[in-house]
């Protein structure tokens, strides 16, 4: 997410918004925004409704045993159709913003 923040201008120049979704509460997201300097929206999905709809639930993924989201990135076009997906198999290895920008340029 740090990389996306650094490349945020390039996404905005292309008319795309970056949105991050997790089970974190708005207060927790606010803390994260402050500590990491994120300026794109962090959305809160505490009951995992949206996370389930996108099929990226990680049941009991939190140490507390709560359900969370698995890491994933989706690219949506203006019509709301999914045009690009990245599903990592390793929580350390996330999509690089450069590859998402490339996917946008190919739309």
């Amino acid at each position: 997410m740090r990389g996306f923040e650094q490349h945020l201008k390039e996404f905005h120049q292309r008319g795309f918004e970056v949105v991050a979704i997790s089970v974190d509460s708005p207060a927790e997201s606010q803390k994260l925004c402050h500590s990491r300097g994120y300026t794109f929206p962090l959305l809160s999905d505490p009951d995992t409704g949206t996370i389930r709809q996108y099929g990226v639930l990680h049941p009991k993924g939190a140490p507390s045993g709560n359900d969370i989201a698995r890491p994933a990135e989706f690219l949506l076009d203006a019509g709301g159709t999914i045009r690009w997906v990245n599903l990592t198999d390793d929580i350390r290895v996330r999509a690089r913003p450069e590859s998402v920008l490339t996917a946008i340029d190919r739309l």
Partner: protein, 195 residues
């Protein structure tokens, strides 16, 4: 009965005397009594050299262990911030190698030259601890960080993205419809969160 050396003989240099051998075997500067054997019978020590043979702290072993610990501890707060050193942690592995080489050199000289260097036991313990640290790191990046469900159930390219209305960090409701109206598209990043 062993004699205790309290001062250097007037004439420096020359062959090892029994007194100097006693000093040679002294640990931490304290003189010990007992049957002694010159560990370096091939060498003529001068008095200064014998004094220099007080067994030294084995700094290499400790430096190597420190490098291994720094390598382990720096991954999450530093190297994981950059995709180049995160996805394949080559920087961390390189530091492990440097630490391991230092430690190996330290342990090697502790065993090869025990009259001169300390650290046979401490070096061995540090080596085992380092191996545990390295093994834990490798296990972490090759096993623990892959314990997530497969992406098989995720929505695919070409499917319609479900609409959502969620709360942002300021407590404001944000809808996908509103976002899509004002943009050419969206990048949705699902993340594990910090609970």
């Amino acid at each position: 009965m062993a004699r205790v050396v309290t001062s250097a003989p007037a004439a420096a240099g020359g062959k090892l005397t029994r007194d100097r051998e006693i000093l040679l075997h002294s640990r931490r500067g304290k003189l010990a009594a007992g049957p002694f054997e010159n560990p370096r019978p091939d060498t003529n020590y001068t008095w200064d050299e014998v004094r220099g043979l007080k067994r030294r702290r084995n700094i290499l072993s400790w430096a190597g262990f420190a490098v291994v610990l720094v390598a382990f501890a720096s991954y999450v707060p530093f190297f994981a911030l950059f995709p180049a050193t995160r996805d394949i942690p080559w920087a961390t592995y390189s530091l492990f190698l440097i630490g391991g080489a230092l430690l190996a050199a330290g342990v090697r000289r502790a065993f090869r030259d025990p009259g001169r260097y300390r650290g046979k036991i401490s070096g061995s313990i540090l080596a085992v601890l380092s191996a545990v640290v390295v093994a834990f790191f490798i296990l972490g990046v090759t096993y623990f960080s892959k314990q997530i469900p497969s992406g098989g159930s995720a929505l695919r390219v070409g499917q319609k993205a479900p609409a959502f209305v969620l709360t942002d960090s300021a407590g404001k409701q944000v809808s996908s419809a509103g976002l899509l109206k004002n943009h050419r598209g969206l990048v949705l990043i699902f993340y594990r969160g910090y609970w």
